[in-house]
């Protein structure tokens, strides 16, 4: 085994055997924001065999305070996070096979993405996607690690199908989006603390040290000096629709899919077309410029100023409407642009 991982293999619970296992594993990270960029960097440095990172967004100035893979230049270029992450991660470790996917992690996309995956690390910013990950995890028997933070507060939970309760067992009612992120802000240490919990669990899973898995729901407040671990073993619910005997995987069903979403903590609506499209962005860009709009773009997206709104269109037909929280207004603007 290579010198590169010598300090990690010296750690007895990993060792040479553990490192060989890590090398063979494929980790899927959903989200390349604050948690995603940190989790991806730790996994890449640890020498996993393959990393797939999925994100629907692009880099903005307000990300730089805590999203460790991105720079000012990425903001200027409005680069998609997944594309930048892929480039940086490859530069960090050429031995890990890095795949970036610029897409919204809908249930259909998740089904395709998890096929050869050993572990899913949640780095999303919404419960709609998390509950879909939870169902996928049960359906394909793939462990996943929940992580989330706001303000100085964060939490994590490890879900191993057949061994632990699932997130749906614990959350009978799905928390309403934006419960706290609009008001709470976020400090980087809270992000790092969640990453530390998620990646420690990830390493245990990758080396198959099942006895070491944390069986509690951890939450902490770094500013308020709180740290708590809740035992959850008895929360396993045989009637759970995601992991119980009569499971239906409710969060994978198409009728549960939204086509417009208000993005948490942002004055932005995402509009997702019913089917994936392949837009000709160059042509669209020309048309918009001819209509007098100010356009900025790159091969992945174009950004159109339509004051007071700004619209960012990705080549799969998805759009972010900045400057509104009104779903129907967002749809209207989308239609005005893309017909």
């Amino acid at each position: 085994m290579n010198e590169r991982y010598s300090r990690q293999t010296l750690f007895p619970a990993i060792g040479e055997e553990g490192q060989k296992k890590i090398r063979k594993k494929h980790v899927l990270i959903i989200g390349a924001g604050a948690l995603g960029s940190g989790n991806a960097e730790v996994m890449t440095r640890a020498g996993i065999g393959k990393l797939t990172i999925v994100d629907r967004d692009y880099v903005e100035e307000s990300n730089l305070q805590r999203q460790q893979l991105y720079t000012e230049e990425d903001v200027f270029e409005k680069m998609p996070k997944a594309a930048v992450a892929e480039k940086r991660l490859r530069a960090i470790n050429s031995e890990t096979d890095i795949a970036a996917v610029i897409t919204d992690a809908t249930p259909d996309r998740l089904e395709e993405l998890v096929q050869t995956v050993d572990l899913i690390i949640d780095s999303t910013d919404n419960f709609e996607t998390r509950m879909a990950i939870n169902d996928i995890s049960q359906k394909y028997q793939i462990p996943w690690i929940y992580g989330a933070c706001v303000g100085s507060y964060g939490m994590s939970l490890t879900i191993i199908p057949g061994m632990t309760p699932c997130l749906h067992c614990l959350l009978k009612k799905i928390p309403i989006q934006g419960m706290t992120c609009d008001t709470g802000g976020i400090i980087a240490p809270a992000v790092q603390m969640v990453i530390a919990h998620q990646t420690a669990e990830a390493l245990k899973i990758l080396v198959e040290d099942w006895d070491a898995i944390r069986t509690t729901f951890t939450s902490f407040d770094l500013w308020g000096n709180q740290y708590t671990n809740i035992k959850i073993a008895k929360a396993k619910d045989d009637g759970c629709l995601s992991c119980g005997e009569a499971r239906t995987y409710p969060f994978l069903q198409n009728e549960n899919l939204m086509k417009t979403t208000v993005l948490c903590g942002r004055d932005t609506v995402q509009v997702r077309p019913p089917a994936k499209q392949q837009l000709d962005l160059a042509r669209l860009s020309e048309q918009m410029q001819a209509s007098g709009y100010q356009i900025k773009g790159n091969p992945y997206l174009i950004s159109v100023e339509m004051k007071p709104q700004r619209i960012v269109v990705f080549n799969d037909g998805r759009a972010l409407i900045h400057g509104t929280k009104d779903l129907s207004q967002a749809k209207a603007i989308y239609n005005r642009l893309l017909g």
Partner: protein
């Protein structure tokens, strides 16, 4: 007597990190009604609860001396 522990923004809503109150004999669901009506906690439906650091369901009954924690799941990432 029982001790209530509030996490994250619930601490701000309740105006305190801890609260001493006698709720023994009541269920978690009844306690949730009390804290939302009398202590200003919002969206209490989706808040996780624990009795003595063990996950608690809505129909669990609180005993004398139990500590009950209110932990709101968050979505940021």
């Amino acid at each position: 007597m029982n001790k209530l522990l509030f996490f994250a923004h619930l601490k701000d809503e309740a105006g305190a990190e801890t609260l001493s109150i006698d709720v023994s004999g009541k269920t978690i669901a009844e306690l949730k009604t009390i804290v939302s009506e009398q202590h200003g906690l919002t969206k209490i439906d989706s808040v996780m609860t624990a009795i003595n650091e063990e996950f608690a369901e809505d129909d669990d009954i609180i005993q004398q001396g139990d500590t009950i924690a209110f932990i709101p799941p968050v979505s940021g990432g």
